[in-house]
C-alpha cells in the first residue's frame, strides 16, 4: 500500500544525492558465500480437470550457473483423501503458451471438490523427503469488474480497474488477484495482488488499481481463493524478492507450504472475467 510505494519513491531521492558528482555510486563487488547443502524445491498447482504435473528443482548457490538444477531419480506421488497414490513420472514438459516447464507428469486428471485433501510425497535417492498437504477451497465468484478513465485528453487517457467480490464472514479468507492483458505475445501480467479480509470480513471487497490501462486493452481478471499457507508463501516469496536490493528491509524466510524443502503444493480454484476497456 502506501508504505511500499513510498519506499520505492524514496530510493531515487536518496540516489539523487549522487547526482552531485558524476561518480557511479554502485559498483560490483565480490562476496564469498558459505557452502550450504542445497534443498529440493517443488511447485505444484492442482487444477480441476487438468493432468497432475509439477516442477521439481534443486536450490543452488547464488553465484552458481544460471540453469535450474534438476533432482535426479526422485519418486513423486500425489494422493487424494487417503485414496490410491498417483505416481508422477519423471518427464520434462514444456508449456510453450504459458512458458512453463514441468519435470513430473501424470495423465490422471485432478477431480476435486471443496474439502478434499491432497497429499504430496517426494523422495530422492539421497534420502531426502519432501511432503505437503492441501485442502481444496470453494471458488469465490467475481461480482463485477469495472473501469474508469482519468480526465486527460482522449488520446492519452488511462483507466483504472475495479474488481468486486463478496467475502464469506464465517472464516478468514485470502485472495490473489491476477490481471493479464491478452495480446499477440502471449500473457502480459498487469497486476498481482494478495488480499486478505482482515479489515473487511464479510463485506463486499473492492480492489482498485492505479490508472494504467489503455483504450482497447482486453483484460482477463482472475480471482483465486487461497488458503492461509499459500497466502503466506506467496507473500514471503514476494517479500524475499523485494528484500534483495532494499536497504530498509529485513531478510525474509520463505514460508513454504511443504516440509523438507522449499516450495508450494496447492489446489488452485479461480473465477475469471474478461473486460475490454472501451
Amino acid at each position: 500500500m502506501g508504505i511500499s510505494s513510498f519506499l520505492r519513491q524514496l530510493l531515487p531521492l536518496l540516489l539523487l544525492v549522487s547526482l552531485l558528482s558524476s561518480c557511479d555510486m554502485e559498483q560490483e563487488i565480490e562476496v564469498k558465500l558459505p557452502d550450504m547443502p542445497t534443498q529440493m524445491v517443488v511447485e505444484c498447482y492442482l487444477i480441476n480437470g487438468e493432468p497432475m504435473k509439477l516442477a521439481l528443482q534443486e536450490s543452488s548457490s547464488y553465484f552458481a550457473g544460471p540453469e535450474a538444477l534438476l533432482v535426479e531419480g526422485a519418486t513423486v506421488t500425489i494422493t487424494r483423501n487417503n485414496g490410491t497414490p498417483v505416481t508422477l513420472k519423471d518427464t520434462v514438459l514444456v508449456d510453450e503458451v504459458n512458458r512453463k516447464v514441468y519435470t513430473h507428469y501424470s495423465p490422471a486428471r485432478v477431480r476435486a471438490t471443496p474439502g478434499d485433501v491432497f497429499t504430496l510425497v517426494i523422495s530422492d535417492p539421497k534420502g531426502r523427503r519432501l511432503t505437503g498437504t492441501t485442502t481444496v477451497l470453494p471458488r469465490v465468484p467475481i461480482d463485477s469488474v469495472g473501469y474508469k478513465f482519468n480526465s486527460k485528453p482522449e488520446q492519452s487517457q488511462e483507466a483504472y480497474l475495479l474488481v468486486r467480490w463478496q467475502d464469506n464472514p464465517d472464516q478468514k479468507n485470502f485472495y490473489r488477484l491476477l490481471v493479464h492483458k491478452n495480446d499477440t505475445s502471449g500473457i502480459d501480467s498487469q497486476l498481482d495482488a494478495e488480499v486478505n479480509d482482515r479489515l473487511r470480513n464479510g463485506q463486499k471487497i473492492t480492489y482498485t488499481t492505479t490508472y494504467r490501462f489503455d483504450r482497447n486493452d482486453t483484460l482477463t481478471v482472475k480471482l483465486f481463493h487461497l488458503d492461509e499457507a499459500y497466502y503466506d508463501f506467496i507473500s514471503s516469496v514476494e517479500d524475499a524478492r523485494r528484500a534483495n536490493g532494499n536497504p530498509f528491509a529485513q531478510p525474509v524466510t520463505i514460508k513454504s507450504t511443504v516440509a523438507g524443502g522449499f516450495g508450494i503444493f496447492t489446489h488452485l480454484n479461480s473465477d475469471s472475467q474478461t473486460v475490454i476497456i472501451k
Binding site: I3, P12, S18, P66, K148, N150, R241, A243, P251
Partner: protein, 764 residues
C-alpha cells in the same frame, strides 16, 4: 523511597556550624546567558564545584579569604578575592574569548579535566554547540548529534545517519530531552539530519551509562539537549546560508537584563532544485519525476527573571518533514514531525536548596495520504505526552549533595490509524487502536564525598506504568563510586538498572518515520537493562585526559516483529510481536587534548552487540546490524591563525552486520510468463559489509564585516571519495536480446561521494 532520603538527613545535620556558603550565578557578560557546567574553584587547590543547569554554584567553605577562580570553555578565566565571614552571594559575568580555542582557555580546560577526575560520574559525553560548529558534517551542516557520534561507544546507524546506537542498544532506547521535554523522533530525513538546530542549541550531555536517578524510561542513553536562553542585553540576528538549507535566528532582551527570547528557524531547499529538474524534463515521457522533499523546524525560547530566587523558562520546538509525489491522477503525501513544549520554573529556597518544576508536552506523528480518483487512503500514528515533574537539589554539606524528585507522564497513543474511503461509499475501511498509559517515577540520590579520594554516588528510582488495568513497577538502583589514587589517576565503577515502558515498533532495520510507538500492556512487558561499568581516568602531563571504560549490558524483554509481520492497519498488533534478550559488552578508550594550537580527541571502541529471540533465526543468537567490532574516530582542530581554524575528522568502523541470500531458486508461479529468482537467506546478519571509513576536512574562515561577525565555513565530506557501503544486493544479469539469465553478480550501493560545501554564517 523517601526512607532513603531520611536516612541521609543525619549527614546533613552534620553541617558544620562554622561553615559558610559562597553561591551565585555565572553568566556571559556579552549576552547575559547563564553558564552551565562552569567551574568555580579555590585557586591552587582541588576544591571546586560546577554550576548547575541554572548556572548556579554553591561552594561550602570555612570562613576566611580565598582566591576564587571562575572558568568556562571559551571564556576568560576570572579570579576574584573573596572574604567570607557569612553566607555570601556572588554573581559573576565572564567575558567571552575572542579566539574560540586559544591559549587563554587552558585554565578552564584544566579545571574541566580536574572535574572529570574528581566526580564519580562516568560514561558521559558533553558537547557544546560552539565545539560542534567547528566540525561541519554532511553538506556542511553542523549537527550536534553527528559530532557526538565521534565519541567512543556511540555509533551511528551508517552513512549519514544521526540515529544513535549507544553501547549496543537500539535506536529507540535513547531518552532524548530538549529543555526537559521528551523528543520522540530526533531525526529529519531518515536520520541524515538531527532536529537540533545548532544556532538554538547551547549544548548536549549524553549519558551512555551511569545514569543519574533523575533520569528513567529508556535503557541505553540519555541525551540532554539544552537550548540557549537568548541574549538578555541586546538584539542579535544570526544565521547561515548553506548548500541545502538556511537558518535564521533572532534573539534579544524582552526586558533588559531581566528576560530574553530566542527564535530560530531553518528550512531545506533541495525541493526547489528537484522541481526545476522535473520541469525541465517535463517533455520527456520516460522521465519519472523526483518527489518533493523538504523539512523545516522552529525553536523558540523565552526566559524571565521573576525575582531574585525565581526564574521561568518557556521553550518550544515545531518541525515537519514533507515528502510529496503528485501528478494528475495520483497523489501521495507523507509528513511527519515533532511538537515539543516545556515550561520550567526554577526556584531557589536558599543558596543550598533548589527546585526545578517542569510541565512539558510532546507529540510525534506521521500521516500518509494517498488519493486516486474517488478513493482515498490515509494512515496515521501519533503519540502525545503530558509530563509534570519536580526535581529538588539540596547541598547539605560539602560531603553530601542530595537530589530527589518525582515525575508523572500521561501517554496517549494512536497506533496505525488507517482509513480507506471512496466518495461513492462503496469502500469504507477503518482500523487502528488508541491506548493510554501513565508512567511515573520517584527518586532520591546522594553524592557522598566520603574523603577527598573516595566519592560514592548512590540512588534509587521507583518507576511504574499503568495501562489497561495492569500496573508495572520497577525498582532501579543506581550506584557509582570513584577512588582517586593520586592527583592524576581515578578509578570508577558503576551499576545502573533501567526500565523502558514504551517501545518502538519497527519493521525495518533502519529507523523510519513510520515506526510506531507502543505502550507496555498486559501482553507486552516493560524492557529492562542492567549495566556494569568499570573505568580509569588519567591526566597525563597536565594536558592529556586519558580514559578507558569497560561495560557489560544485559537487556531483557526486547521486542521485535515476527517475519512478514503486518504493522499497518493491524488491529491485533501484539500478535506480531516476538520477545527476546540482548547483551552487549566492550571497552572504550579515549584521549583528549584541549590545550594548545592543536586540540581534539581520539576514540576507540571494541564492542559486541547481540540479540536472542526464540522466534527469530531459529532461536540462535545473532549480531545486531550495528554490532561494530572496531570503531575509531580521530578529531583534530588546529588554530592556524586568529581568523582561521582548520579541522580534520577521520572515522573507521567495522562493516555493519548484514543479511545476504546464500542460495536461490527459480519460481515459475501460476502463469510462468517470467521466471523470478527467489533468494534464500541464512542466519540473520551473518555477513559483514565492507569497513566504513572516511576523512572530512573543514576550514572556518572569519570575515571582517563592518558590523557583527561572519565566517565562511568550507568543508569536504569524504575527502578521498571512499565508496562506503550503504547496502549490497545481488543482481540477475540477463541477455539483452533473449532475456535469458546469464549469471548473477553482487552490487554494492554507496550514498555519498566526496562532497565539498560552503556555508556562510553571520551574526549582527
Amino acid at each position: 523511597m523517601f526512607l532513603l532520603f531520611l536516612f541521609l538527613l543525619p549527614f546533613s545535620a552534620a553541617w558544620a556550624q562554622n561553615r559558610v556558603t559562597l553561591g551565585g550565578t555565572l553568566r556571559s557578560a556579552a549576552t547575559g546567558e547563564v553558564l552551565i557546567g562552569a567551574s568555580v574553584s579555590v585557586a591552587g587547590t582541588t576544591t571546586g564545584v560546577e554550576t548547575n543547569t541554572n548556572g548556579v554554584y554553591t561552594l561550602p567553605l570555612d570562613p576566611g579569604t580565598y582566591q576564587i577562580q571562575f572558568s568556562y570553555i571559551g571564556f576568560q578565566t576570572l579570579t576574584r578575592e573573596v572574604v567570607l565571614t557569612r553566607n555570601t552571594r556572588l554573581n559573576v559575568e565572564l567575558l567571552e574569548e575572542a579566539s574560540q580555542l586559544g591559549e587563554v582557555v587552558v585554565e578552564s580546560e584544566r579545571n574541566t579535566f580536574q572535574e572529570r577526575l574528581s566526580t564519580p560520574q562516568m560514561s558521559m559525553e558533553t558537547l557544546s554547540s560552539r565545539e560542534a560548529k567547528l566540525l561541519p558534517a554532511l553538506f556542511g551542516e553542523v549537527d550536534i548529534i553527528k559530532t557526538l557520534q565521534l565519541k567512543p561507544g556511540i555509533q551511528s546507524g551508517g552513512e549519514g545517519s544521526s540515529g544513535l546506537f549507544v553501547r549496543g542498544g537500539s535506536s529507540d532506547q535513547n531518552l532524548v530531552l530538549l529543555d526537559d521535554a521528551l523528543v520522540y523522533n530526533p531525526s529529519h530525513l531518515f536520520g541524515f539530519f538531527s532536529v537540533f538546530n545548532p544556532d538554538a542549541v547551547r549544548g548536549v550531555e549524553l549519558y551512555k551509562g551511569g545514569f543519574p536517578a533523575q533520569f528513567g524510561g529508556r535503557l541505553s542513553s540519555v541525551l540532554d539537549v539544552k537550548l540557549r536562553d537568548g541574549n538578555r542585553k541586546e538584539h542579535d540576528v544570526s544565521g547561515g546560508i548553506g548548500l541545502i538549507a538556511s537558518r535564521l535566528s533572532v534573539e534579544g532582551p524582552i526586558q533588559k537584563d531581566k528576560s530574553s527570547f530566542l527564535i530560530s528557524g531553518r528550512r531545506t531547499y533541495v525541493d526547489v532544485f528537484t522541481r526545476l529538474i522535473n520541469k525541465s524534463q517535463e517533455s520527456d515521457p520516460e522521465w519519472s519525476p523526483i518527489p518533493d522533499y523538504y523539512f523545516y523546524d522552529f525553536n523558540a525560547k523565552a526566559s524571565f527573571e521573576l525575582g531574585p530566587n525565581d526564574r521561568l523558562f518557556l521553550s518550544g520546538y515545531y518541525g515537519r518533514d514533507f515528502f510529496k509525489f503528485n501528478d494528475e491522477d495520483f497523489n501521495f503525501n507523507f509528513n511527519w514531525g515533532n511538537k515539543v513544549g516545556s515550561a520550567r520554573w526554577a526556584h531557589q529556597f536558599s543558596s543550598r536548596f533548589f527546585v526545578n518544576t517542569t510541565f512539558s508536552a510532546s507529540n510525534y506523528e506521521y500521516a500518509i495520504k494517498n488519493e486516486l480518483d474517488i478513493y482515498s487512503f490515509s494512515l496515521t500514528s501519533n503519540i502525545t505526552d503530558l509530563t509534570l515533574k519536580s526535581d529538588f537539589e539540596y547541598i547539605s554539606s560539602e560531603h553530601h549533595h542530595l537530589r530527589f524528585g518525582a515525575a508523572v507522564t500521561d501517554h496517549r497513543f494512536t497506533v496505525g490509524r488507517l482509513e480507506a474511503n471512496s466518495q461513492d461509499g462503496t469502500v469504507n475501511i477503518g482500523a487502528g487502536n488508541k491506548y493510554r498509559g501513565q508512567e511515573y517515577g520517584v527518586y532520591a540520590s546522594d553524592d557522598w564525598t566520603f574523603s577527598p579520594a573516595f566519592t560514592l554516588s548512590y540512588g534509587l528510582r521507583l518507576s511504574g506504568f499503568y495501562n489497561d488495568g495492569k500496573n508495572f513497577l520497577g525498582l532501579e538502583p543506581r550506584a557509582a563510586a570513584s577512588y582517586r589514587f593520586s592527583e592524576t589517576l581515578t578509578l570508577k565503577a558503576n551499576y545502573t538498572r533501567m526500565f523502558q515502558y514504551v517501545h518502538l515498533i519497527s519493521n525495518s532495520g533502519a529507523s523510519l518515520p513510520t515506526d510506531i510507538w507502543y505502550p507496555s500492556s498486559p501482553g507486552v512487558k516493560p524492557q529492562r537493562s542492567d549495566q556494569y561499568t568499570l573505568g580509569l581516568t588519567k591526566l597525563y602531563k597536565g594536558k592529556y585526559l586519558l580514559s578507558t571504560e569497560a561495560y557489560y549490558k544485559k537487556m531483557n524483554r526486547q521486542l521485535d516483529l515476527r517475519d512478514g509481520a503486518e504493522i499497518f492497519g493491524n488491529n491485533e498488533l501484539e500478535q506480531e510481536f516476538v520477545f527476546g534478550t540482548g547483551d552487549s559488552y566492550g571497552q572504550e578508550f579515549y584521549v583528549e587534548k584541549k590545550e594548545g594550537k592543536t586540540t581534539g580527541w581520539i576514540g576507540y571502541t571494541l564492542s559486541w552487540s547481540n540479540r536472542t529471540f526464540p522466534d527469530i533465526n531459529n532461536g540462535r543468537t545473532f549480531p545486531t546490524r550495528f554490532d561494530r567490532r572496531h570503531d575509531v574516530s580521530v578529531v583534530a582542530i588546529r588554530e592556524v591563525s586568529k581568523r582561521v581554524n582548520a579541522t580534520a575528522t577521520f572515522v573507521y568502523g567495522t562493516g555493519n552486520a548484514y543479511s545476504l541470500p546464500v542460495q536461490r531458486f527459480i519460481f515459475q508461479d501460476v502463469n510462468g510468463e517470467d521466471f523470478t529468482v527467489i533468494p534464500v537467506y541464512p542466519d540473520r546478519n551473518s555477513f559483514r559489509l565492507a569497513a566504513y571509513h572516511r576523512l572530512d576536512l573543514g576550514l572556518v574562515y572569519k570575515l571582517r564585516p563592518k558590523r557583527g561577525t561572519s565566517d565562511l565555513t568550507f568543508s569536504v565530506y569524504n575527502v578521498y571519495n571512499r565508496r562506503n557501503p550503504y547496502f549490497v544486493y545481488f543482481e540477475t544479469i540477463e541477455d539483452e536480446e533473449t532475456k535469458q539469465i546469464t549469471g548473477f553478480v553482487a552490487k554494492q550501493v554507496s550514498l555519498f561521494p566526496v562532497i565539498p560545501s560552503v556555508t556562510y554564517n553571520f551574526k549582527f
